[in-house]
Every structure is written in structure tokens, then in C-alpha cells.
């Protein structure tokens, strides 16, 4: 692991972030806003920070985004 990777993993996101439960609650809306390019981060504050800090939720986000994209948006 590089120095920056260790620091990113250890210290996590600097700003306020959602919990895993709130992240799951908002995940479908967030994905659709991201795919529609509709200011997802402004409309769901704390989501991006959580996805930077939580590897499991970040994987769930990428999976849903990619599945919705594959199925036609």
C-alpha cells in the first residue's frame, strides 16, 4: 500500500457523512441522480463522503449504477 492509500483508508473522509443505513435508504435515488447528472451530491449531502469511507457501500453503489446502466438507465 502506498502512503496516500494508507492515509485515505485510515483517516477516511474529512467531512460529515451518512451512516450505512441512510446510505442504503438513499442509494437508489442517488444512483439515478448520478446517472441523470442531476447534482446528486448537492441533493444528498454526506453520500459521497460515506462512499469514500465505506468500501462495502461503495461497492454496492458501483454495482447498482452499473446494473441500472446495463438495463437501460
Amino acid at each position: 500500500m502506498s502512503r496516500d492509500e494508507i492515509f485515505t483508508r485510515v483517516f477516511g473522509p474529512a467531512g460529515p457523512e451518512l451512516t450505512c443505513e441512510r446510505c442504503f435508504d438513499e442509494l437508489d435515488r442517488y444512483v439515478e441522480l448520478v446517472l441523470a447528472d442531476e447534482a446528486a451530491d448537492a441533493r444528498i449531502p454526506g453520500m459521497r463522503a460515506h462512499l469514500e469511507g465505506c468500501p462495502a457501500c461503495a461497492e454496492d453503489f458501483r454495482s447498482l449504477r452499473d446494473l441500472v446502466t446495463r438495463e437501460g438507465g
Binding site: 483508508r9 485510515v10 474529512a14 451512516t19 442504503f24 469511507g53 441500472v68
Partner: protein, 211 residues
């Protein structure tokens, strides 16, 4: 991407059909299960590299189990669907979560969680090879000391998830906890480390962010 307003009739149709009861309701549940199975197969398929020993039949079993569990979750939460996304997007996430958790746990079945010593070695190796001078060496030394000062649960979760890359769902299963509860431990550990290092006058930053 359609808006919630544009897709509203379709969303109402899904909910109404699932609540219809009788043959129509059963047909809607079967359609939903097929939708969830598609999502579960998608997730298992993209994670198959984590399970090289798993045969095709086992992968399908995993997807079927995930779809079955997701179906129960979705049917139990129909009242919580707010129509802020498509029904299908909302439903997919349950199947993806069930499949991802099952794959992660299967991939770690029978494996020991890496020891904390291995994390210290990774830390010191990174510190030695960083090549950024005395400031980094001081930071890595202080970081190691402050991690040792964390409470046992915070240290355990931080080391396992953040340093050793163990999936948080795997740790949750071993500790009889939940992803959300353990992430709270991780979040608190990170905050405590930031504060402790700041008190030492050390600047925490990765180039993208600073505290």
C-alpha cells in the same frame, strides 16, 4: 433518465400488482423474483473472481438464495417505497446487497482474519518506503502509537477493514454485529485518530483532504 413523475404510473402498477392477492398477485411476485434473480446473478457474476473455487452450480445457488432473501425484504418494505426512484432500481439494491454479502462471506469462509501484526508491518513498510522525509516518519510513528491507544473494538475494526481490507460484512458476521454498527466504530476510530494527531501538531491529509 426518466423522472419519478414520468415513471409514476409504472411504479403504482408494481405496488398495486404486488398487493393484489390471488393469481394476479402471485404473478407479480413471480415477476419480482425474476427481476431480483437477474440482479443477484449480475452481482455474483461480477464477483466470481473472488470465488475461484466455486462451481457454476454453486454460483447459481448463491444467486437464488440472494434473490429469495431479497424478495422477502422487498415485500416486507413495500410501504417504505417512496417513489423517489424507479421501483426496479429500488428493488435491485436489495438483491445486490444480499448477493454481495453472501459472496463476501463465502469468500472468507474458513479464513482467519489477518492479525494486527500484519497491519503494523504494512504501516511501517509504507513509512519506510514513503521517502518523504522526517515528517512522514513522525506521522507513521505517531499513527502507530495512537492506533494502539484506541479502544479494542475501534482498533479491531480499523485494522481489519481499513488496513487489512477485510470486508466489513465478514467482520460483522464474526462479531455478531452489523455493517452499520461496525462502521460507526470505524468512524469513531478515524475521528479519534485525527483529533489525537492534531493535538500532536500533525497535519492529517492525503492530498485530497485535510483536517
Amino acid at each position: 433518465m426518466a423522472t419519478a413523475l414520468m415513471t409514476a404510473p409504472i411504479e403504482i402498477s408494481w405496488i398495486d400488482r404486488l398487493r393484489a392477492g390471488g393469481p394476479d398477485g402471485q404473478a407479480a411476485v413471480a415477476d419480482l423474483h425474476a427481476l431480483l434473480l437477474k440482479a443477484a446473478r449480475f452481482e455474483v457474476g461480477r464477483r466470481v473472481a473472488q470465488l475461484p473455487h466455486l462451481r457454476g452450480d454453486d454460483q447459481e445457488d448463491l444467486a437464488q438464495q440472494a434473490a429469495d432473501d431479497a424478495l422477502m425484504a422487498v415485500l416486507g418494505k413495500l410501504d417504505e417505497f417512496r417513489g423517489e426512484s424507479r421501483f426496479t432500481t429500488w428493488a435491485y439494491k436489495f438483491a445486490l446487497l444480499e448477493a454481495a454479502v453472501k459472496v463476501r462471506r463465502r469468500a472468507w469462509q474458513g479464513r482467519e482474519i489477518p492479525l494486527e501484526d500484519e497491519a503494523w508491518r504494512a504501516l511501517s513498510d509504507a513509512g519506510a518506503s514513503a521517502g518523504r522525509g522526517a515528517e512522514d516518519a513522525e506521522m507513521f510513528t505517531a499513527l502507530g502509537e495512537e492506533i494502539e491507544r484506541l479502544g479494542p473494538r475501534q482498533r479491531e475494526v480499523l485494522v481489519a477493514v481499513a488496513l487489512n481490507g477485510v470486508p466489513i460484512d465478514v467482520i460483522a458476521e464474526r462479531l455478531g454485529s452489523t455493517r452499520s454498527a461496525l462502521y460507526k466504530n470505524l468512524h469513531d476510530a478515524r475521528r479519534n485518530l485525527r483529533e489525537a494527531l492534531a493535538e500532536r501538531g500533525l497535519r492529517v491529509g492525503t492530498g485530497r483532504e485535510e483536517a
